[in-house]
């Protein structure tokens, strides 16, 4: 069985368990599974339905998505470690726009993400007579030089500065939560291991040390598999 099929089967199994009283999986459920199969991360049925909605709807137009891609590539230019395309950053904009669409999120997609494009386009239009998408990188950078820093007090640019900070946040968070971005960061965990303290060279680097009394009471990892036994006073014997 292909990976996709096996995961689909698993989903069907979990849906079967969730829908104890449904006699069969409906065609709508099938359609849903077809869309969400690649995201196998322990969802409840209600959450699957929400994911389906988020993954199948369309928020940004293709032109808007191209603008986002252009902006994202300037905010975080590709290098040999990774790029926003492989990190799925533009896709994340599209998903978050739909995902944060409830009243609790105050229509984030419309009022923040799309609003950003409108505002950036407007500035480009005033300066260069062109929407952002049709500007040269050097022109866009000239605009970003004015709106990318928090120390610009120009009244007219405050909204653009706020929105740019969101775009930057989205691009970086999208990059550093992707496989390629986490490799770039160098994060080493999320895998079974045995923690046995800070590496010796790191302790030295920071001139810190474990004190003997503290460390002597910590777990001896060579005995972690021995069944714990205590005396009546609560002293560990094993």
């Amino acid at each position: 069985m292909k990976r996709r099929d096996s995961i689909k089967t698993m989903f069907l199994g979990s849906l079967g368990a969730t829908l104890t009283l449904k006699s069969c999986i409906t065609s709508e459920d099938e359609l849903m599974l077809d869309q969400v199969w690649q995201y196998n991360y322990g969802r409840t049925y209600e959450e699957l339905k929400w994911d389906y909605k988020v993954l199948t709807g369309k928020f940004f137009s293709n032109t808007e998505l191209k603008s986002i891609e252009k902006i994202a590539n300037i905010i975080l230019p590709p290098n040999d470690k990774g790029n926003i395309k492989d990190a799925g950053v533009v896709e994340l904009f599209e998903i978050i726009a739909k995902d944060f669409s409830t009243p609790a999120h105050n229509e984030y997609g419309e009022k923040v993400l799309r609003r950003g494009l409108v505002v950036f386009d407007k500035i480009c239009n005033v300066r260069f007579g062109l929407k952002l998408l049709y500007c040269e990188d050097i022109q866009i950078k000239a605009v970003f030089d004015d709106i990318a820093f928090s120390d610009n007090n120009d009244e007219d640019l405050q909204e653009a500065i706020r929105l740019f900070a969101v775009y930057r946040g989205m691009v970086l968070t999208g990059y550093f939560t992707s496989e390629i971005g986490i490799n770039d960061l160098g994060y080493k965990g999320n895998t079974p291991n045995v923690w046995d303290g800070v590496p010796e060279d790191v302790l030295k680097e920071y001139s810190v040390s474990y004190d003997e009394d503290w460390i002597s009471r910590c777990v001896d990892q060579s005995k972690r598999n021995d069944l714990a036994e205590w005396d009546e006073e609560g002293n560990l014997l094993t």
């Binding site: 930057r168 910590c218 598999n225």
Partner: protein
Amino acid sequence: MEIIKSKEEYDVIVVGSGAGGGMATKILSEAGVKVALVESGPYFDPANPEQQTQLKWPWESPRRGAGTNRAFGDFHMSYGDWSIDGEPYSSEEGTDFKWWRSRMLGGRTNHWGRISLRFGPKDFKSKDYDGLGENWPISYEDIKPYYDKLDKMVGVYGTKENMFNEPDGFFLPPPKPRLHELFYIKGARKSNVKVMPSRLSILTKRINNERGICFYCGQCDRSCSVYGDFSSSSCLVIPSLKGGMVDLYVNSMVNEVLTDNNGRANGVSFINKENGKDYKIKGKIVVLAASACATARILLNSKSKAHPNGLGNSSNLIGKYLHDTTGAGRGVFIPELLNRKIYNEDGVGGMHVYSPWWLDSKKLDFPRGYHIEIGGGMKLPQYGIGWNPNEFNKFFGLRTGGYGDSLRDDVKKYYGSTIYLSGRGEAIPLKENYCAIDTDTNDKYGIPVLKFRYKWSDNEFKQAKHMQDTFEELAYNMGGIPLGNKPTKKDNYGISVPGEIIHEVGTTRMGNDPKNSVVNKYERLHDVDNVYVVDAAPFVSQADKNPTWTIMALSMRTSEHIISELKKQNI
């Protein structure tokens, strides 16, 4: 309306499968008592790959783990949070309370911080020390044997410290501190703040052959697939189901405890969430463990001729004395921790070190203490990482913001350089803080919902102020810079909204006097001799200790009492 009645009569019906209900189910069923366990949410087993979130990467979620569906992010293991569709609640004007509900087998024990602190001798008799609140009708000596059994049964790591009000137990050995925790230790000692290994119910060593040992992924909030941390689902309920004495009813919302003509309980009614139908099951004894506020709600909704204002409510105290732990926090940036060498320091799911309450309240302007929890480290990236990639540039006189390749370096430079300090303190329970039935509103199952009224008093604000002063001093003594502006009186010193710390207790408080309490010292309703409450509702006060360990010790004690009453044929 069609009501489906079961023919079988259970010895005991347990409502709710979290810490209290799971423990009662285990103890009772192992003693040969026939139990019906009724849970409002679905079956959950952290080892089930279809439900598992442990070891998932952020990109395995389309929203990279953002908190759209689950308040603490996609991978957090709680079905439900402070808000659940179709199950509203409200607060009286000018007050605020946030009510967390985990609707799933094991309840909130699937996501909790595993902080497992015994209440100390003083914690049961606080009124003797400061004249505030009420003493418990039991003492530390009454509950100590159950804490001891619990340590060995469930497992908790820690160290013997011989502190009067932080009793030692049967501890597994703690993990070694992480780098940022060594910075905290240094700072705390300079500030004369006691610091010691934390006490968490995570298996750093084998305690039996049914459960695995911690493999240090740092994700206990996702519930452990090898049962290396304690959850009621994995460690109590699922093993109990194998004994053949437990019938589990999932997706079953209990709305009422049923009573006979004499006002004694004889069963419960519930709504099956799958088909919307009403069911009734019969039992000789009802044990409520739905969580403090949900238990109060069930009792208050169980009106009858014998109990016109709710079951067991002749004192009119059900719902009153609701109290949550106080919380305040501060982030600290440690310049020394820039450009860290990266290695795996996930550790256990939570802190390896903490500070218990270290001062004498008699010398302070607020009555009760707090402990300090420490967070930080090079954690698994989640939605939000890199959002303000170089905000700490301001501490070096550099510009913040910008764009371009340098942002990559900024994120790497500052990764793992922040420590977060959280104070968790004891509030004084007040009669004026309560939950009650909101007669105007039903949830989607047709059950009347709760309305809350909760306000902190000066005692808590002063305590939060002390936390903030302490955090600032600790920050500098760690060689760090406290982040943001220090919360002042205007911001209520950054104190949490009641309910935000998710330690709500006290709604059916325990006591010897039926006029002044709802349950007796065995957690039995004063008014009805076959109804017990084994969640946190009977708490008279909650110390600055997280409630779970005490919920379980009390539930164990109550369950043994029930067994002895059944044997004596008293019930």
